[in-house]
Amino acid sequence: EDQVTQSPEALRLQEGESSSLNCSYTVSGLRGLFWYRQDPGKGPEFLFTLYSAGEEKEKERLKATLTKKESFLHITAPKPEDSATYLCAVQPQGAQKLVFGQGTRLTINP
């Protein structure tokens, strides 16, 4: 069964304190791995798609990386506005759906 597990469940950092969020997955062939950001009361907002092991993508203070078993979302020198829930999802080969993890709730204190 396709499965996505994110850790930690919640993470509290001080402004400027860099860290990483983990997304471990088991899937019968990976078509794509997606990172989303979700703010309270809003829908998930797309951040990155990664397709193959070794791939990396960057956007502002965020950098996503991918191996054959997991993905990391690195956040460098975060600001309070980076506070949100970060969701990871995989699309299995031959499937049209995304399978989501339970998310990491990130809080950045000023």
Partner: protein, 113 residues
């Protein structure tokens, strides 16, 4: 504004009632989805349509019936609502049936009392 829009944003109703949620996208996408997000923030696929054709029908009670009148609209009708149906329902869309990103609406919070 180009977007995925859902109505209503909030829906409070009693057990046993029937209700509908509407979704429209003006992104020119041809594949649309319904996801359910439970109290633990876990997003689970329910249905998907591509050009008005049902392509995903997960294990969902048959009280839930999606309808896609055209590729820009996907509605969700729920009969005989139960307490366990309380959740946030998200509509999403994407281009084609490949691996392009899903674009989500802002959700409909359904509360069944």
């Amino acid at each position: 504004d180009t977007a995925v829009s859902q109505t209503p944003k909030y829906l409070v109703t009693q057990m046993g009632n029937d209700k509908s949620i509407k979704c429209e996208q003006n992104l020119g996408h041809d594949t649309m989805y319904w996801y359910k997000q439970d109290s633990k923030k876990f997003l689970k696929i329910m249905f998907s349509y591509n050009n008005k054709e049902l392509i995903i029908n997960e294990t969902v009670p048959n009280r839930f019936s999606p309808k896609s009148p055209d590729k820009a609209h996907l509605n969700l009708h729920i009969n005989s609502l139960e307490l366990g149906d309380s959740a946030v329902y998200f509509c999403a869309s994407r281009i084609g049936t490949g691996s392009s990103p899903l674009h989500f609406g802002n959700g409909t919070r359904l509360t069944v009392t």
